[in-house]
Symmetry: C2
Subunit: 229 residues, 2 copies
Amino acid sequence: MVSSSGTQHKTSASGGRQSTVNKKAEKREIAKRKILNATLNLIADEGLSSLSHRNIAKAAGVQLAMTTYYFQTFDNLLLSAFHLFLENLQPVLAELGENQKTLMRECVNRDGVLVEKEAYITGIGDLFEAYFDSALESRRRQLTIESQFMFAQFLPDVLAREVQQYTATLKKVAEQFCAPLSNHHLKTDGALLLAVVQYLEFSAVGSAPSDRREGREMVERLLRGFLRS
Amino acid sequence: MVSSSGTQHKTSASGGRQSTVNKKAEKREIAKRKILNATLNLIADEGLSSLSHRNIAKAAGVQLAMTTYYFQTFDNLLLSAFHLFLENLQPVLAELGENQKTLMRECVNRDGVLVEKEAYITGIGDLFEAYFDSALESRRRQLTIESQFMFAQFLPDVLAREVQQYTATLKKVAEQFCAPLSNHHLKTDGALLLAVVQYLEFSAVGSAPSDRREGREMVERLLRGFLRS
């Protein structure tokens, strides 16, 4: 990404030229963003395997040469599209994390010990039921893209590594949810919660969706199982 | 499917004509099978969204008109391809079911009550570790196709219903595994086991695979949780 913040304090003598440079950089950013959004839209609508320089340029409404001009290689373009996907995802993860913290505060005693375990589990059930109910509509496109990246078979190495890193990040978020319940198996429990939630998410945008009530029961039952060991 | 068994006891008078009819039916079956296999291969390699009469005919090595001649509509062709996928899957499900029954016999007392609960859980852990280890290689193509059907967004209604039915069948198999451990939550537990195993399966052919040790631990930990309630 080209940052424009470094150009704020230039002397007025170079101001005119600088403004042209800024405009160029801005135009460049807009074009790149257009191409990346078109790429994500194509992944959502037709899958990763549908991508080509040609149909990306067409969908973005830019000349064919532009995808190579801005991103050099196809792998590079795909990697940048994944980064944009991650950027768009940040608010969702932040909100989930915040909700968990709020719930925790309601369920701990003065010493910060989780005393209301049943309330905590039901609270997480509520949280995910609400999430499966509403957020899934708004996240449909995002989840379709995510499942494409997750289950793609032949990603370029560098992108496959980033998808793995992304999964590791999600596991950390899941561990945050499990931490008040799991003593000795936090890694496994985080992996399990992530597996179940991600499965429910992907199913929700697929052809055999679970109903939200079932999803909620699955999450609560899973967490209760953690509690007892 | 055209069955040839009904033509075995014809009189010799009509034998010559019958043999021509049989040959025609056989040829027809071979051509249909070729088209369906080509369809599944395309789904495995390039995804459901890549399919068209044109590239299926090309991959099958038949004339363009043949896909319509044999299957009438595109939805019909897709449905038949799904049926072939299900047919290919039967031995895998049958083997899993058999292994579970064998394990059960080793863990019950004379009255058929599961007494060796820990051995049963570890046994299922073994079973899935072996499965994730070896079967996944041989099932890679099948799992890629399965994930395409599961997470496809815009399947024809009749196919979406069959995918849902297929998921219901898998849930029954998963319930069979959980039954000796789960008393009051069999439906939820079966759904959870299916979610976790299918997630691990799809991940295994995707870009962020779990290691087999982690998969095994997840399955065992899940089952132990069921035990305690």
